[in-house]
Amino acid sequence: MTTPTPAPLIIEAGRADRHYWRDLWRYRELLGFLAWRDIKVRYKQAVLGCAWALIQPAVQTVLLTFVFGVLAKMPKGGVGHYSLLVLAGLLPWQLFSSAFSGAGSSLLSNSHLISKIYFPRLVTPLAALGVALVDFAVMLVITLPVLFVWGAVPTWRLLVLPCFILAALLIALGAGLWISALTVKYRDFRYIAPFLLQVGLFVTPVGYRTDLLPHWRGLLALNPLTGVVGGFRWSLLGGGTDLNGTEVATSLAIAAILVGTGLWYFRATERQFADVI
């Protein structure tokens, strides 16, 4: 029984792991299993289950419409109903929010795995992104008909939606990598993620439009999610809003920086995870 002898693997202090990315591909099934596990566990022994995917955005839409549309009387521009604006903004925000908090806490919540088995640690935040994506898909499927019923006619712009989805995920990944790696070493970073999300809901134009706020536009554009939300609205609402090229470009640039630096820091500290966690 002759099998080709695999090339010997050398383990040494400080040795750059050339196999890392190949390993990551090899462990893709584990990524799927971890995401599947989290999703399955969420719906086991749950009575609300899928209904929660409906209730949460519905309630949030109502609240935000009330606060920003009715109380603050923010301009709605060419869109038929203020709630449409809010709903279209809520979708990317939900995606980012669950992806970011999932990725940020992924290492700590899988600490028992990290200290006992080998796998490229990048698998855990990526699995969290997978879970967020599935949740988002469910929410999208429920929300699209609602949007159409309220008057948002589907146009060719919908085809560009996946690009904005990817952008939101990348931002979440970049920020999530930073937070998760930092949390392993300094436990107080655990509380920064929910705090950022609380602030983010107001600093991101979820409940309002930026294009009709000339004073604040520049400042809000620094938030990478502004461009993403603008893109979502543009593709979902069939022309009621404009797409600002600069905003989108800024978002993508910041997303790239976040992912690049996040990956660097994560990989740099990865080898100590099992020792410190």
């Binding site: 695999p6 202090a13 299993f33 086991k44 028992h112 006992k116 300094y186 099992a274």
Partner: protein, 421 residues
Amino acid sequence: MPDTVIRVEGLGKKYRLGVIRHSTLRDRLAHALAAPRRWGRRRAGGDPGDFWALRDVSFEVGRGEVLGIIGRNGAGKSTLLKVLSRITEPTTGRVTLTGRLASLLEVGTGFHPELSGRENIFLNGAILGMSRAEIRRKFDEIVAFAEVEQFLDTPVKHYSSGMYVRLAFAVAAHLEPEILVVDEVLAVGDAAFQQKCLGKIREVSTHDGRTVLLVSHNMDSIIRLCRKAMLLAHGRIEVIGAPLDAVSRYARVHGRQAAAVDCRAAVRPAWAERSLVLERVEHAGAGAAPWAVPFGGDLAIACELAASRTVRGWSMFLAFFSASGVEVAAIHSPIQPPATAGSRPQLRCRLADFRLTPGSYVINIGVRAGPQMTDLVAAAATIEVLPTEHSAELQTAILSGFYVPNAEFAPAGPGPDRPLT
């Protein structure tokens, strides 16, 4: 010459002891501000705050070999396995591995209590490195090995601990790596389960020619399964070679008593009459290993007494107590000829085919004259029964049987007054 599958050279792993463990950013900043010079400065040669879990470890393992790793808790065994499994990085040295390595450091890693047995098999298999196709292929075998057919679809949180452990091991047992690393997982489970695990490990190494590294506290499994064993102490290799050598060295490390024990200063109970007292007890013919006897070997104990007045109809008894305080054996000598005042009678006891379960035993020695107890020395000596191939075959560690030794008493006669060493 089997080709080398694992080569370890000069391996060392250092941990920084958390004297001041900066687990929050606030602490780290506060500490840095308080002592700005310390921030960034590296101390050469290691701090006193450094702990070397492994130091200068070098060894080789050939294809198809089963290497046993033993040592006290904290000796560095788990750290070594973690380095080999790439969970943690070494500080010095290098490891060269040829072939896929799968490690079983804990039973049921990644099991989620809410998921069913079937789901957990897939999850655990994926975590251990099997592909979904592989798991599907071996699914039936795994279920048969674990004997959980009826309970496959119930959530694992409802399983008994025995079923849980069987299922977890069943998945791991069907891994097909070239190198398998097992850490003390055999310590859980009942006797039947441990049997199954040992059988599977033996099958994996002899039939499939896989290399196995086994860390265990069960000396019997080390002796039976391993062709080579390594004793780790304080992060260094103390012995590497035949399993019996490593195991007996491990057993001998604690309790270095001299062959002759002076009992004169020992505390006696108040009710002991003290007309005939035990002064000295010696492990006769001990050679290099005082107070250590292999399972099934011969034990000779020589006792020297001193009589302060004439004592008639006296006899001695020895009682053996296990480490948990259970009296496991007691032997009585026949009645001896009277001892005159001032004499120093000696009695030699020979216990042939000494088959107490390997472990540590404490010996209480007493002297009685008629109905009266003239002396009792509690814990006069501690004896270590060493495991052998025979005891391993009998699986004494699991079965825990006690066997009253055969005893032969012979008076050694009043000899010249030898100084007590």
